[in-house]
Amino acid sequence: MRVLYFAWLRQKIGTAEEEIAPPPEVRDVAGLVRWLAQRSPAHAQAFADPRQVRAAVNQDFAGPEHPVAANDEVAFFPPVTGG
């Protein structure tokens, strides 16, 4: 599974992208967040307030219950501020 980070999530975690292989019990975005938050203190800090984090699965916005699978591209980022 490919995970991307943008904006301050990228800065806090210290990488823009990582290849991960979460265990089978990680089935949705919320489960993936919980699992990622345990990878390092930096991850824990980045995901400390889930209300500040948005996700996309395969380049579509996705809520906490959205399923994730082995070949997905999952991105995490703050609320968007374009325009």
Binding site: L4, P79, T81, G82
Partner: protein
């Protein structure tokens, strides 16, 4: 189909506008919104990050929705990324239609959407050396929400 560009380079407003009317006589109005970088609070630069691939797809999808909701003869969305200085343009939305209401409404719809749903993130850099990520604004969400369910088609 809309012309959608996400790029670091500046864009040519006059050329983009002319392209929407060139060679046709069914365009009655072209509405546009040009977003420009302000220098609030001593800001020295704005740095825009985006999600390559998803950004273009998301804009193309919303532009297609605008073309379905309003009878547009053309639509152009250009959003810059990277480092932008105060006074420089950030985003351009152009919509053309036989009638002005369709052009004006769809232009407002697209810029409201870009502010709240397009995967861009702005970091402000200040003359002091400080920097901060811009936070999303509730009033932008409200502006985007007013389009839900409204409009034609």
């Amino acid at each position: 189909m809309a012309r959608v560009l996400v790029q670091e380079a500046a864009f040519d407003l006059a050329a983009e506008t002319a392209a929407l009317t060139a060679g046709r006589t069914d365009v009655g109005g072209v509405a546009s919104f040009l977003g420009v970088c302000r220098a609030d609070d001593g800001l020295s630069a704005m740095v825009l990050e985006h999600y390559p691939g998803m950004t273009e797809r998301a804009i193309e999808r919303i532009a297609a929705e605008a073309e379905a909701r309003w009878p547009l003869t053309g639509c152009t969305v250009i959003h810059r990324t990277g480092r932008i200085l105060p006074g420089e343009p950030i985003v351009l939305v152009l919509t053309a239609s036989a009638h002005r209401a369709a052009a004006l409404d769809s232009c407002a719809f697209l810029i409201d959407w870009l502010k709240t749903k397009a995967p861009f993130w702005k970091r402000e850099e200040f003359a002091s050396g400080a920097h901060r990520w811009v936070e999303a604004r509730a009033e932008d969400d409200a502006a985007a929400a007013r389009w839900a369910g409204a409009g034609g088609a």
